[in-house]
């Protein structure tokens, strides 16, 4: 196969190579493209490859124009626009594939080259992971190789040769990249972040349908990374607070009506928080979620310090950013694990947290009535009721499972009486319904619980699979109190962080069985690398750039300083280049330099010789001009000649240099 490829005529070989590179660029984003676009691109590339293999002529322009019109129409039909990110990506990929049908001269490669770069960039809309970066680096080298190859017009140069040149260029270009990356001033989006920038990411959502977290839990992707600046709290206290859901229609939980999230109540929200004890300081690197949620540990009294982002707290203790988190966001926060929140005595807002859908979950309501009327519990008040329900969960044969089956309409009834097993959301949802039925204000809190310490770099990694739902109940005199009913059923889910493992594929389980530690360690190492990538590269923002300047010694750095620094570096490099040019112009062969010196002195004495005159000719001229007085110089010149050409010269260059200094320079005969 390879030998057959090597035997192809040059144009066919070059075309096939370029087609391969294009396929490599398009492949990673195929899942994000419309199906017709992927099919069309694959078809076009395959068609072009067949033409190249057979060295057959390209189709006429009617074909190309027809396909172009078709592609534009299909793009419009799919996206309802030709502008914006998604339509643009679809168009660029189609154009790139179509252009290969027009690739006649080697110069046409330029258009493919430029389109290839846009395609490469569009990959980053969907993923900026290390893996994507590596794949695109390979693609870039491929494109450069094709371009270099196109500029070697003679014969049939080997692609390996072109690849080597391309590799060298990339390697030597890397310092330029590094300097520009560090010093190029970072701005915010020029005309606002397009709304479609973050479509299609999984994670917590604003509404929770009972059963939806179970789909997230199979998602091993990382939600956030946390580094504690000081001692880490116990794993059981790692509750990262996300959306608080308070209205329930029987199947779906939603946040409270917007008026409670408005500005005035936001202020009362923070005033209702009292913290005590030593705060925990930590730094969070939040993966993009396209949501404004800033996840912090319960409870943060001070706004998280996020660069370029204003944060506010809702009345439900959730922190919100001024804009959706569309790229990696790093912030520092301070949390207290001991705190009081909410009104101490019954307040006007609390009835919101007692509402239940009408005519739903009759058995749960009956259970609530039964518990409330229990004489032993009535004296203990709400706390005793909560304890009783938790006790029921612990001892009532309830189980924790990832695969509870599909719940019907009466989710709470089904949990409490029929299935008796479920995932955190079923448990928490059923718990809150029961609490409300007993006239205890309760709400559902979603977020992440726990995390995994990467021992390689000391970061806690919180995954989508750590998504969790728990409950908060309002107690007279205490305010809102966190209750995690899941902990009652499966303490290990909360306490020691042993999660239910999603089913693993055969290879991973085989590996895991043979060397249990290996997969864990490999994963830890890989994630540490990934984290370093995120921290250093993806999270290199304006504030970090300015911090860097501060470290260098600028007192109050601004982007003007950055520009000055960048310009100084460019000027310095240019000066270096000029110096090198001057140095390069010098004669570097010491032998020739010596000869030139002598020639210069002779010219000053009136003996002008051509630049190409060899020592013997100069010696002859010296003898002719000065006679016997020139004999030492002539002799020296002959030694110089012997040094270069004799089989075993009796002198050396330093010796000759010394002799020349001591030489009695002949006087011209008068």
């Amino acid at each position: 196969m390879l030998s057959r490829l090597a035997k192809l005529p040059r144009d066919s070989r070059d075309t096939l190579f370029l087609l391969g590179v294009i396929a490599w660029l398009v492949l990673p984003q195929a899942p994000h493209l419309p199906v017709w676009c992927v099919a069309m691109a694959a078809g076009l590339l395959a068609w072009r490859a067949l033409l190249a293999l057979g060295s057959r002529p390209l189709p006429g322009s009617v074909w190309v124009v027809g396909l172009l019109v078709l592609a534009v129409a299909a793009t419009f039909a799919t996206h309802r626009t030709l502008l914006g990110r998604d339509a643009g990506v679809t168009l660029i990929v189609t154009l790139l594939a179509l252009k290969t049908l027009e690739m006649r001269a080697r110069r046409d490669i330029f258009v493919v080259f430029f389109l290839g770069f846009f395609t490469m960039l569009t990959n980053f809309f969907f993923s900026q992971s290390l893996l994507t970066a590596a794949a695109m680096l390979l693609g870039l080298l491929g494109l450069l190789t094709a371009l270099v190859n196109a500029h070697m017009p003679v014969g049939k140069p080997s692609l390996a040769e072109s690849a080597r040149t391309a590799g060298w260029m990339a390697l030597l270009g890397a310092p330029v990249m590094a300097v520009l990356f560090v010093l190029f001033p970072r701005f915010g989006p020029l005309w606002g972040m397009p709304g479609d920038a973050m479509a299609g990411r999984s994670g917590l959502s604003a509404n929770m349908q009972v059963g939806s977290i179970a789909s997230i839990v199979l998602d091993e992707s990382i939600a956030m990374r946390v580094r504690f600046l000081g001692p880490a709290p116990a794993p059981g206290e790692l509750y990262f607070r996300g959306p608080v859901l308070s209205t329930f229609d029987g199947r779906e939980w939603r946040p409270v009506s917007p008026r409670l999230g408005s500005g005035t109540t936001a202020l009362t929200g923070s005033s209702q928080l009292q913290v005590s004890g030593q705060p925990l300081r930590y730094e969070v690197t939040l993966e993009p979620s396209n949501r404004p949620w800033i996840l912090v540990l319960d409870a943060a009294a001070k706004p998280p310090e996020a660069p370029g982002v204003d944060t506010i707290m809702t009345s439900e203790l959730q922190w919100l950013a001024s804009r959706p988190v569309t790229d990696l966001l790093r912030y520092q926060a301070e949390s207290h694990t001991s705190f009081r929140h909410g009104p101490r005595s019954f307040a006007a807002v609390l009835p919101e947290y007692l509402q239940l859908p009408a005519n739903r979950n009759p058995r749960t309501l009956a259970l609530a009535q039964q518990l409330k009327s229990d004489a032993g519990l009535r004296t203990g008040g709400p706390e005793a009721l909560v304890r009783a329900v938790l006790e029921r969960l612990r001892t009532g044969g309830y189980g924790y499972t990832l695969d509870p089956g599909v719940y019907g309409a009466e989710t709470a009834d089904e949990f409490w009486f029929d299935r008796k097993e479920g995932f955190c959301e079923h448990i928490a949802s059923a718990f809150v319904v029961l609490m409300r039925a007993m006239d205890i204000p309760a709400r559902l809190v979603t977020g992440y619980q726990g995390g995994e310490l990467n021992k390689v770099d000391g970061f806690w990694v919180v995954r989508q699979s750590d998504a969790h739902a728990w409950a908060e109940v309002w107690l007279q005199g205490q305010g809102w109190v966190r209750v995690d009913p899941t902990g009652a059923i499966a303490p290990e889910r909360v306490g020691s962080l042993r999660r239910l493992q999603p089913p693993r594929n055969a290879l991973a389980s085989a590996l895991g069985n043979m060397t249990p530690g290996l997969t864990v360690n490999l994963r830890a190492a890989w994630e540490a690398i990934n984290n370093a990538w995120n921290q250093r590269i993806l999270n290199y923002t304006q504030s970090r750039q300015l911090n860097l300047l501060k470290d260098i010694g600028f007192s109050s750095p601004s982007w003007e300083d950055l520009s000055h620094l960048l310009i100084s570096v460019i000027v310095l490099v240019a000066l270096g280049g000029a110096a090198w040019t001057l140095w390069d112009r010098r004669e570097r062969d010491p032998w020739l330099r010596l000869l030139r010196r002598v020639r210069g002195r002779l010219a000053a004495a009136g003996v002008v010789l051509p630049a190409a005159a060899p020592p013997r000719q100069i010696a002859g001229a010296v003898t002719a001009r000065f006679g016997a007085a020139g004999a030492p110089l002539a002799d020296w010149l002959l030694q110089l000649e012997a040094l270069r050409y004799a089989r075993a010269p009796s002198t050396s260059l330093p010796l000759l240099q010394r002799d020349l200094r001591r030489l009695h320079w002949p006087e011209a005969p008068t």
Partner: protein
Amino acid sequence: MSSPVASATNAPDAPAAVPAAGQEHYFVLNPVAHARRQFRAWWQARLPLSDSITLTQRNVYILPTRPGFMMGATLLVLVIASINYQLNLGYLLTFLLAGCCVVGMHVCHATLRGLTMNLMAPDPQFAGTSACLRIALSNNRKSARYGIGLAVLDLDQDDRWAYTDVPALGSSTVQVAFKPGRRGLHRVPMLTAETRFPLGIFRVWTVWRPAAQVLVYPAPEAVPPPLPAGEPRAGGGATARVQATGEFEGVRAYRRGDPLKLVVWKKAAKSEELVSRDAQQAQRYELWLDFAQAGLQDTERRLSRLAAWVLQADRLGMDYGLRLPGQQIAPASGEAHKRRCLEALATC
């Protein structure tokens, strides 16, 4: 050491920068182009004349090509996209590409810088045929130089390039052709070398004014009339001299068509080759190619006819003399004689 040879033809007439007719008119219509041509002519006249040139920073020029500007636009769009979508990986890609472009610029310049070009002395040519210039490129660097194009500099036409690679520490030869317009001694036209290796976003070139001259013979007439009749030998003693010596002076290699009686059988017996007596020695009449008797009015066409006759006489192996206004070349034969005659025709 390989020496790939490429060639291209080029057909400039005289390097007339400005159309001869309506020059004023032209100047009025297109003053900028006129000024550019003037500047270029002045600048090119300043170039030193040399058959050998080593390219340095001083005689190698670099400018971005059109794809180079497109590349700049691409970089701009990429950086705007990176800013707008806050893609740090996009920045990395853009800057790496920019870095590659900077390196590419350097590599492009270094492809010509340090290269030595030698023009081999060109052979004389007939007017109207393409003259071939052989240029040896030598590389004293430890890496190869790729995609170097050479061409005759032509201001009015697109240059057509002969491309070559120069191996590491080696040399290669390129042939470029030009069509001399009229007879005479011409300076070899200005040559140019360029490269766009490796990325094609920069063009690096040099202009070189060789010192060598090429002699251009008149174009031989396509269908010349038969050779003129010979003239009796001066002094009328030709026959006597031949008879007096009793044998022919000259012998030469046997040519097909020689009469058998001219073969020197004695010599043929000693060696394996046939040798003929040089028949021309026996001629009683001398062949004179005379400018005055060439029969045409136009000087150039007369010279063309004489050139055709010279070639014809040489082909027939005859002795011939050439009479031109102001000079006369005594009858003789052979390659050197032919060259001498053609040279006289070229330069008279």
